[in-house]
Symmetry: C2
Subunit: 346 residues, 2 copies
Amino acid sequence: MNPLAQKNPHRRFNPLKQEWVLVSPNRTQRPWQGQMEKPVVAAALQYDPDCYLCPGNVRAGGARTDKYTSTYVFENDYAALKLDAPRFSSDEEGKGILVAEGESGVCRVICFSPRHDLTLAKMSVPEIRKVVDVWAEQYRELGSRDDISYVQVFENRGAMMGASNPHPHGQIWASRSIPNEVVLELRGQGEYLREHGCCLLCAYRELELRLGERVIAKNDSFVAVVPYWAVWPFEVMILPLRHIADVEAMTDAERDDFAAILQSVTSTYDRVFDTPFPYSMGLHPRPSDGEEHPEWHFHAHFYPPLLRSATIRKFMVGYELLGSPQRDITAESAAEVLRQAAARAV
Amino acid sequence: MNPLAQKNPHRRFNPLKQEWVLVSPNRTQRPWQGQMEKPVVAAALQYDPDCYLCPGNVRAGGARTDKYTSTYVFENDYAALKLDAPRFSSDEEGKGILVAEGESGVCRVICFSPRHDLTLAKMSVPEIRKVVDVWAEQYRELGSRDDISYVQVFENRGAMMGASNPHPHGQIWASRSIPNEVVLELRGQGEYLREHGCCLLCAYRELELRLGERVIAKNDSFVAVVPYWAVWPFEVMILPLRHIADVEAMTDAERDDFAAILQSVTSTYDRVFDTPFPYSMGLHPRPSDGEEHPEWHFHAHFYPPLLRSATIRKFMVGYELLGSPQRDITAESAAEVLRQAAARAV
Ligand SMILES: O=P(O)(O)O[C@H]1O[C@H](CO)[C@@H](O)[C@H](O)[C@H]1O
Ligand SMILES: O=P(O)(O)O[C@H]1O[C@H](CO)[C@@H](O)[C@H](O)[C@H]1O
């Protein structure tokens, strides 16, 4: 690592999204007098009669959750996207300014386990493997539709990240158009392939494996790194060692290894501040728009908000919303903290 | 407004940033079981002996805040940017992937008033006018430096938006390079000017003034609208009626009118949920990189997080971080709520 960058304000380029992050390692002494978060408490009950995701319970909309015993998928009762949404495209006043178009799609909820008190971090690898299989099936089913161009799988974990329920679950929002972040990543990967003749994330993975300083976990099929251009304090990206485009393309062994590295990353997180670590995570598979996308390399992002303790988070506010994202600790220090947390006995 | 868009999921294009926002007006019935914010309480003391921004007090770093009587500017004790930061530019391993460069700049704090218990919403227009003059001076001073290409003025208001102190204050982060958001807005405005031969935001302002449905306040020099492509529930943009590029270019009367519309927007916000409304706001003046930028139209953004009450906020999490921003209420409904709040007697 460039020693100047370790100690001085600098910016780093994110080649996936083609934008910059401001890094201020000089700023870590800053005292904090702002908002303290409520400490996160793990759910205690295996079954909560008031939880609409626990097996057999009635949901707010009136539907009943099945008495499931492993994973469970259902349509979101308050879906942001609907398959039968009317199609239209309008440019009010014809100036290219008030531009809208109908958007259709599907929103589903995936319960990871019938047990209310579990999280990915506390589930066994075989249990997580079942979740991976559900993601693969959902990707195949939804992605094969003509009216779906992107299948976004994600999990909001913890109240701090907007999760309205601690029951272990994730979501799928699959849409007719390709979302902004994926459009950026398509361009970043496409341009890199055209200019360098190789896959951006394959080349990146090889650099990280060789340098080691940002690697936090690795197995036979995947590596987890704090990206060089990380924005969130303990942001992590999981990359397959093979150039594969989505979960469906994973071999049986790779699916097991994906489950294992998810278990490893999430349980490491919980050890950092001895608290269930909140995060948003998501998979970025190849778009399902019918194109081949040889440039696309499957990956998963983890965006956790905590910064200095279980109750002090990073705020993405003024400068971040109006200028560029900013972070205090470097990606290398964050990786070191995560490696130490991983090494601590549970 | 397109009636299909009023009731059905759709996406709207933001021509300034050239990206999309997903709008799901069908989703407003969704119950909320997630995190509730602590209700915001207004600061009660005019002078707080423990506040490092109150006149005459000692700050965490040891410096003493002047006994100021109007506005007060000082260098941030824990600056994210420094003028003397070393310059470098590196591409470790030469693959265009681990790219960093030194970033230099200045971070300053601007106290808006010596009174701890005030906010922009509670200050008089002549008092806010003094803040506008400080912004103009700072923009002139910092922007004229060869090593500053952008002067970002912003305010994080409320603990929910990361403000570590309720004392009325804002910040300036001025940097050698142009931040991401401004790069996007430069491109959006530049392409519009080239393709349509007119300024994007002048054309937009005229549409909004004619249609009226998203306008929430107006005076002789400025208009405030909920942008057609708003992301935050009650997002607002302030536009000058003249094509001016920055605060320095404002006439005396325009500066008064800018102060007045800032007062109007912030006090309207406080009336929406009868609570001091948290937000991040910022000015977007023309870059100070020495180029002329005829395409650039000065504007201010307000990004407030509250959604349904003083304690229920919008979370920009999973889908927003991995896909595209999403909102439930339309820009038109939000504008209607704000107009009604403005009309309520104080
Ligand atoms: O400098 P402050 O007000 O302490 O810090 C606040 O605003 C900064 C600029 O938006 C953010 O980077 C910080 O995360 C936030 O807590
Ligand atoms: O659908 P949920 O989990 O209730 O909602 C949560 O995730 C969504 C997708 O990221 C966000 O749009 C909401 O703001 C958030 O509260």
